[in-house]
């Protein structure tokens, strides 16, 4: 297996308006994502998941360390990485078709090919017949399908997804999870999928990177054995429950620690 994405001692700080010292969002994050791998990153709210994804997308630069794609440092955003956001981020003035064509146009594909490819990918995500609908005429689940089709259509090597199903109802989420797995299997893309849902992480990932907060770190990377995933209802499998609990414990311990830190800080503030 070759390494596709490599994060090496990545650090990201933000200048803070309230305090003098910079706010450390990510500290010493080291993680390798293999070619064709489905990597899930799970962590509590505010631990720096979106910050991490922005870095991978090339939208921001790390303060320290480096990020390599195929061994070369990431210089900026590029069509070799596609991003799917939680809030869909579709262009409301374009139809579903127009939205999918947008990335293809950025890539410089000729217009006949654009049209054809966009139709094919809308079909792939189950939206054949909705080509001429505008985003405001689509449900949340359909919008997210368009967003996924848009990112897949220009054929990036890596798909970066930031809590893409968080805003959807449970039923739609499960459907899209299954479809994403199917698309991943047929396309062989490398996927980095961010979530704060433990079930979602175990269900989707080959490996799950568990993050802790303040500062954001990768606490542990857990392998999800592929064997039990072949079953019918894998959520009912005892192994699923065990993995689920293991991740829950990691996150919970982190939460306890964060609360204690906060208490200490408050005590210090009162004493001072």
């Amino acid at each position: 297996m070759t390494v596709k994405l490599s994060l090496q001692n990545v650090r990201k700080t933000f200048r803070s308006r309230h305090a003098d010292e910079a706010f450390v969002a990510l500290d010493d994050v080291t993680l390798d994502v293999e070619d064709g791998e489905f990597m899930v990153v799970v962590g509590p709210s505010g631990c720096g998941k979106t910050t991490l994804l922005d870095l991978l997308a090339g939208l921001t630069r790390p303060t320290g360390g480096q990020i390599l794609l195929d061994g070369k440092p990431v210089a900026g955003p590029s069509l070799d990485r596609g991003v799917v956001f939680q809030q869909y981020a579709l262009f409301p003035w374009l139809t579903a078709q127009g939205n999918v064509e947008f990335g293809l146009e950025a890539k410089g594909a000729p217009s006949a090919e654009r049209r054809e490819t966009a139709r094919r990918f809308l079909g792939l995500v189950g939206l054949a017949g909705f080509e001429s609908h505008h985003p405001h005429e689509l449900s949340g689940g359909m919008k997210q399908r368009v967003a996924i089709a848009r990112s897949l259509a220009y054929d990036p090597e890596v798909l970066l997804m930031d809590e893409p199903f968080a805003a959807l109802d449970a039923q739609t989420r499960e459907t899209l999870q299954c479809e994403l797995l199917r698309i991943w299997r047929v396309s062989g893309k490398t996927i980095v999928f961010i979530t704060h849902g433990i079930d979602e992480a175990v269900f989707l990932g080959q490996r799950v990177a568990v993050m802790s907060s303040r500062p954001g770190r990768v606490e542990r990377v857990i392998d999800i054995p592929p064997e039990f995933k072949a079953g019918e209802d894998i959520r009912a499998h005892p192994e699923f429950g065990r993995l689920r609990h293991e991740i829950w414990r990691l996150l919970h311990e982190d939460g306890e620690r964060a609360r204690e830190d906060e208490r200490d800080a408050r005590r210090l503030a009162v004493a001072a």
């Binding site: 955003p77 981020a89 985003p135």
Partner: protein, 278 residues
């Protein structure tokens, strides 16, 4: 008046389907939409005739219509109409052409926008009509000063709305476009510009209403033609039906401009409507 209301008023009756039920429905619809208007004009007709108000101050509506016919036949009305419409259209169009590109440029450079904002706020809050004497002083009482004052009044709402439009484009859309590797120029053309259209249009609609208002006031102060001149001149000479005719004509101009802008807005920002209920 909101976009929905005015379009409903102006929407043509449904295609002639045939059935009486349909005709009945159209009739009811017309009654519901036009009933209040009809009642208003009926009251206008009856109040002076029945002596509720002094007919010398408020002539019956039919007399205003008769005056309209008279002035139409001798060409006066057309002349005033054309003068007013031409001036407001010229000033309005110039303001659109100047303010939108400038607003886009200012909105794009945040630091520059912050620097000039206090100045723009000051200009916007200087009522255009307060500056009318200054315009007349510099440009005389000819066409130039009137077009210029309309231009001035229309310029600010369009400029400020355009700046706001560009500055408030959903950052997520910009972020999303950037992930697709768009260059700044393409990003501007393909994302920021289309996303700004609805907010820019708010300014254009405001300016449209403004153009009529300012022009009429300007024509009342110093002009030899135009609807504002017709009103004030008729009042001096106690030609009350002519005066009311001028007022009615201004309403017609206002409605016409609004109708055009609503139609244009619907074409340009159809995507911005919420789920249509059918």
């Amino acid at each position: 008046m909101s976009a929905q209301e005015s379009t409903l008023v102006l929407s043509p009756p449904a295609a002639l389907g045939g059935s009486f039920a349909r005709l009945g429905a159209i009739f009811l619809h017309a009654l519901r939409r036009g009933g209040a208007l009809a009642a208003f004009f009926l009251l206008w007709e009856l109040a002076p005739r029945l002596g509720w108000v002094d007919a010398a101050f408020l002539p019956p509506f039919s007399q205003v219509l008769a005056t309209a016919w008279k002035l139409l036949s001798n060409g006066q009305l057309t002349q005033h109409f054309a003068a007013s419409l031409g001036r407001s259209a010229a000033g309005f169009a110039l303001a659109i052409v100047a303010a939108i590109p400038l607003g886009l440029a200012i909105g794009r450079y945040r630091l520059f926008a912050q620097a000039v904002n206090p100045l723009l706020e000051m200009f916007r809050n200087t009522a255009a009509l307060a500056l009318l004497p200054v315009f007349i002083l510099f440009l005389g009482i000819g066409e130039t000063s009137k077009v210029a004052i309309v231009f001035y009044g229309c310029f600010w709402p369009i400029l400020l709305n355009t700046i706001t439009a560009v500055a408030t484009v959903d950052p997520l859309l910009v972020k999303s476009a950037r992930t697709m590797g768009l260059s700044p120029v393409r990003l501007f053309r393909k994302v920021i510009l289309p996303a700004s259209v609805p907010t820019i249009f708010v300014g254009v609609r405001l300016a449209g209403a403004m153009s009529v208002l300012i022009l009429i006031a300007a024509e009342m102060v110093g002009a030899k033609s135009g609807l504002g001149y017709l009103i004030i001149y008729s009042q001096y000479n106690f030609q009350v039906p002519e005066m009311f005719l001028g007022i009615v004509c201004i309403t017609v101009v206002g409605l016409f401009i609004n109708f055009l802008l609503v139609a244009l807005e619907r074409r340009l920002t159809a995507w911005n409507t919420h789920r249509s209920e059918t």
